[in-house]
């Protein structure tokens, strides 16, 4: 490790603890699935037996709309002949307040993504390096090393890195269970708070993602209001990561914490929102993260910290233009919502046909799949990991095991559905149905044998199921769902 001398004693060359520990969380088995995928990525024509990536929460369903807008609006780029007159000003612009037009456009978009029920103040919009940067920044602002944040589980795997790694903050999970559909309750938070403070931990706040990753569920208004009152009472912070705000399926209701902050019983200084365009707009490559706080000191501090992760001015400029285009935004939000809802419907229907249930969800880019009945040994995390390896190696799907989200009940898996085209989803469903029917034909102990035989036996069944599934797709196409183009399986490494 660097030049660590065996003779002991101090050597200046040793790297920091942060550089050498594994608090970044990337050595976990969770990433084995990614590695397998990268070695053998699925492609409809070039590699039809490859692994299908279903562990990546990307939204690829509406990129065509954005691509079209960019083509029709060359002025929005500082590089095109139509926009190059702005190049020098924008290339030179590094003010950590961000372009005013950008802040205004983001605030405007955030309001629209919440159905126009709330407005956001552009002066409180602070940039960050994606939501990854935003979450870390808010921790640096609210907590000192050793302080605790309560986070309901299951939670986004990378929170271990984003909230803890360089900040020294600790996460204490608030465990949610299937007994009430993993709903977050005030009682559960109160209990976790009590236990933490009784062990002399300094609880600084509560952080959760709403809509939830990995559950895809939305917090109801009552619970949200009660949580906000709870943090006010205890004088601790509330950070709500609303990165999936606009992935709410058409017709469903999402209540942003911004809608309850005006309540007179709420101390707004304790309320902070993290946002990003990575999921709602499907632009993770552009690194647009936002910290939005109702606390002036936090806005001021986060803004200074944003120097460590500003949004490229080239990107700010383009998005300022795009997100101020009301007709584009309105259409985009509506289409996105619709396509996600349809995709979710197709997927969950296909799963049901295989006897697989998912947690009922109304948002997000994934489902929380219940495979407890397929565990070799009930309630065993070893069995969960075993099943997961089978899914990767035999079913050739990269999905994410619940344990990587700190779920306390084995057998749940997060499966993404919005990062591929219809045909690929169809293949994925076939493979799942295939696998399930194989497994229902023999005892659990023999699960890893006889694959070939089962496959042959089920070939006919597969054809029948295939035509049935195709019918459902066709119906949807006839209903007017536009078909996204075939995706190349290009995949960035290690993102969730």
């Amino acid at each position: 490790m660097g030049s660590l001398k065996k003779s002991g004693g101090y050597t200046g060359a040793i790297l920091s603890r942060i550089a050498t520990n594994d608090q970044h969380g990337e050595n976990s088995e969770y990433f084995d699935g990614w590695k397998s995928y990268d070695k053998n990525p699925f492609h409809l024509s070039r590699n039809p037996h490859g692994i299908i990536q279903m562990g990546l929460a990307e939204n690829q369903l509406c990129l065509d709309l954005i691509k079209e807008w960019i083509k029709e609006n060359p002025k929005a780029s500082v590089c095109t002949p139509e926009g190059v007159h702005q190049f020098s000003d924008i290339a030179n612009f590094q003010d950590y307040h961000g372009l005013k037009e950008f802040r205004q456009a983001i605030a405007h978009f955030m309001g629209k993504a919440r159905g126009g029920r709330v407005t956001f103040d552009p002066e409180r919009i602070v940039m960050s390096g994606g939501a990854t940067g935003a979450n870390e920044t808010i921790m640096f602002c609210l907590a000192d090393p050793g302080d605790v944040f309560l986070v309901p589980s299951p939670y986004y795997a990378a929170f271990d890195r984003d909230l803890r790694w360089r900040t020294g903050v600790e996460i204490v999970p608030v465990h949610c269970s299937s007994s009430n559909n993993f709903k977050l309750t005030v009682e559960a938070v109160e209990w976790a708070y009590k236990k933490a403070t009784e062990s002399n931990k300094n609880v600084k706040g509560l952080l959760f993602t709403n809509p939830s990753n990995p559950l895809g569920t939305i917090l109801d208004k009552d619970t949200l209001e009660n949580l906000v009152r709870f943090v006010t009472k205890k004088n601790i912070h509330l950070v709500v990561d609303e990165i999936y705000a606009a992935t709410v399926f058409a017709g469903e209701n999402f209540v942003s914490v911004a809608e309850v902050v005006k309540d007179s019983e709420v101390n707004a200084d304790l309320i902070h929102i993290v946002y990003s365009l990575s999921k709602d707009m499907g632009l993770p490559g552009f690194r647009v993260g936002i910290v939005y706080s109702y606390n002036d000191s936090v806005v001021s501090c986060a803004r200074k910290m944003s120097s460590f992760g500003l949004v490229s001015s080239q990107t700010q400029f383009m998005l300022a233009s795009m997100l101020s285009d009301d007709s584009f935004v309105d259409n985009f939000l509506m289409e996105s919502s619709k396509r996600l809802g349809i995709r979710h419907g197709v997927f969950t229907l296909g799963l049901k046909k295989a006897g697989i249930n998912c947690l009922i969800s109304t948002a997000g880019l994934f489902v929380w799949m219940d495979l407890r009945h397929l565990l070799r040994v009930r309630n065993s995390f070893e069995s969960e990991i075993e099943l997961w390896h089978i899914i990767i190696d035999k079913v050739k799907l990269n999905v994410s095991p619940g344990s990587s989200f700190q779920c306390t009940e084995p057998g749940w898996f997060r499966v993404c559905f919005a990062n591929m085209d219809d045909d690929t989803l169809h293949v994925a469903l076939l493979r799942i149905q295939d696998f399930v029917s194989k497994n229902s034909n023999k005892t659990a102990e023999k699960a890893s044998d006889n694959d070939q035989v089962i496959q042959n036996n089920n070939a006919k069944k597969q054809k029948w199921k295939q035509s049935n599934l195709r019918l459902s797709f066709r119906r949807l196409y006839e209903d007017g769902l536009s078909s996204p183009g075939i995706m190349s399986p290009h995949s960035p490494l290690l993102r969730t």
Binding site: G2, A13, L15, S16, T80, F87, G129, L142, G285
Partner: protein, 470 residues
């Protein structure tokens, strides 16, 4: 407010310093040739605005890169989804080659050892997180870039211990100063983890001499600590000397692929050389795999926008463009620097002779009422509020001698620079010092020039006839 972290309530961000206050004053009353001709002229901002036309004409000739296309096909989707923290391979390759070109292709950079960051601000902080625990110290020669207080210390908890450099030898780093700083850190019970230098220097505008670089490498070798060389201004070298990178020195001392080379890290950025601070492109270069690995993971907190990576990989892969750009950039910087220097001279003011950077290190000691930092601050306020020039006082750069100021010259038009010089001259002539100067200006300039020459002799290394330290 106990509710928030200590980072919020302390002023570890360093933004209460005069360096930033000058900016704020400028923001309130910015100069505009037409709209606000009596406004404040910004000379505290080390930006390079001299060569945008070159990039703009490249864009006109390269519509594919400009419109997110490759071979005529839109790659928008690919870019929209690309968030791999390893960065775009073609971009890192182009960066590596650009860095090599700046160093006359004497050394090679392996793209796999490059970690991208959101500007050198982020690169420097990330390196600190990798190398230092809270309470560990890095030694920095003074004067240094005011932003380091934030970038190196604020969130990392690391400490900076100054290596005091003085005007007596043109602010060069000496062995004695290095040892003294090391001992000072020990006295303060701080573990020294390394030395960080900016080469070419901000705020001095001078490139480190080979002697200084050798000294630094020897020092970190003997102490078994790290050396970070922030070479953000490497492409702004305009003197007739060529830029010597720490990588050159490692090669010349045959230290490549040794344990020592693993402790030498370079920070780079396109903010100064290409004048693109808004695009947030920084990089760490390290021979230590563990650092590359850890820093790569940390870069998640500040990745470079994919559309920016794509645009710049095309720009920097165009070798015809890069060689023309580097040459023209240097030419224009040199001519602009000359303009500032001669303008200052006519006001009886000299600078440290510089051969790089976007600023001059200006000697206004003779304009101080007393040889104190209070007097320096008084003078600064006069220049900011009365003369309406935002320049940076040496104290904000932790200079140990009052009376030095950093004055930028590449972030404005020629006309604006001339106006600024005119204002300064008027100011100087209106003060007591000024009257004295104009009375004996001839004598004074003669002696000032002598001083300049002796500074010059110390800093030149082009002939490799390096003078003794004293």
């Amino acid at each position: 407010m106990k509710q928030l972290s200590t980072k919020v309530t302390s002023n570890g961000h360093g933004q209460d310093s005069s360096y930033f206050l000058g900016w704020e004053e400028y923001e309130k009353n910015p100069y505009d040739e037409i709209k606000n001709p009596n406004g404040m002229i910004q000379m505290g901002l080390a930006e390079n605005q001299l060569c945008f036309d070159l990039i703009e004409s490249w864009l006109a000739k390269n519509p594919d890169a400009a419109s997110l296309k490759r071979n005529g096909q839109s790659i928008f989707r690919e870019l929209a989804l690309f968030q791999d923290y390893h960065g775009m391979p073609e971009f890192k390759k182009a960066m590596a080659e650009f860095m090599e070109e700046i160093r006359g292709n004497r050394v090679t950079f392996d793209p796999k050892k490059i970690v991208l960051a959101a500007g050198s601000t982020s690169a420097n902080e990330t390196l600190m997180f990798c190398l230092a625990e809270p309470g560990d110290a890095f030694l920095l020669p003074t004067p240094y870039y005011p932003g380091f207080d934030r970038d190196l210390k604020w969130r990392t908890g690391a400490e900076i211990v100054p290596i005091h450099c003085s005007s007596s030898n043109g602010f060069q780093i000496t062995e004695a100063a290095l040892q003294q700083a090391y001992q000072q850190a020990n006295k303060l019970d701080l573990k020294v983890k390394g030395v960080l230098v900016t080469n070419p220097s901000n705020p001095l505008g001078t490139a480190l001499t080979r002697r200084e670089l050798n000294l630094l490498v020897d020092f970190i070798t003997s102490k078994n600590i790290h050396l970070i060389s922030d070479e953000i201004y490497s492409g702004t070298m305009f003197g007739f000397e060529q830029f010597i990178s720490v990588m050159d020195v490692l090669k010349d001392k045959k230290l490549e692929n040794t344990e020592v080379s693993k402790r030498v890290h370079v920070v780079y950025s396109l903010s100064k050389d290409l004048g693109l601070p808004g695009f947030r492109v920084g990089a760490i270069y390290s021979n230590d795999e563990m650092i590359v690995s850890a820093a790569t993971k940390m870069s998640s907190f500040g990745l470079v926008s994919s559309q920016t990576q794509y645009l710049l990989s095309a720009l920097l892969s165009d070798k015809k463009f890069t060689s023309q750009y580097l040459e023209e950039n240097q030419k224009r910087l040199k001519s602009r620097q000359k303009r500032l220097v001669s303008g200052l001279e006519s006001a009886g003011i000299t600078c440290l002779r510089s051969n790089a950077g976007l600023f001059c290190w200006v000697d206004m000691r003779h304009l101080l009422d007393t040889n104190t930092f209070e007097a320096e601050l008084d003078l600064w306020k006069k220049i900011v509020y009365n003369v309406k020039l935002n320049i940076s006082p040496g104290s904000s750069c932790h200079c140990t001698e009052p009376g030095w100021f950093r004055v930028c010259f590449a972030n404005m038009s020629e006309d604006t620079l001339d106006l600024a010089l005119k204002r300064l001259k008027t100011f100087v002539e209106s003060t007591d010092c000024g009257r004295m100067i104009s009375r004996s200006s001839h004598e004074r300039l003669k002696s000032l020039r002598k001083k300049t020459v002796s500074n010059w002799v110390f800093r030149v290394s082009w002939s490799d006839r390096v003078p003794d330290e004293r």
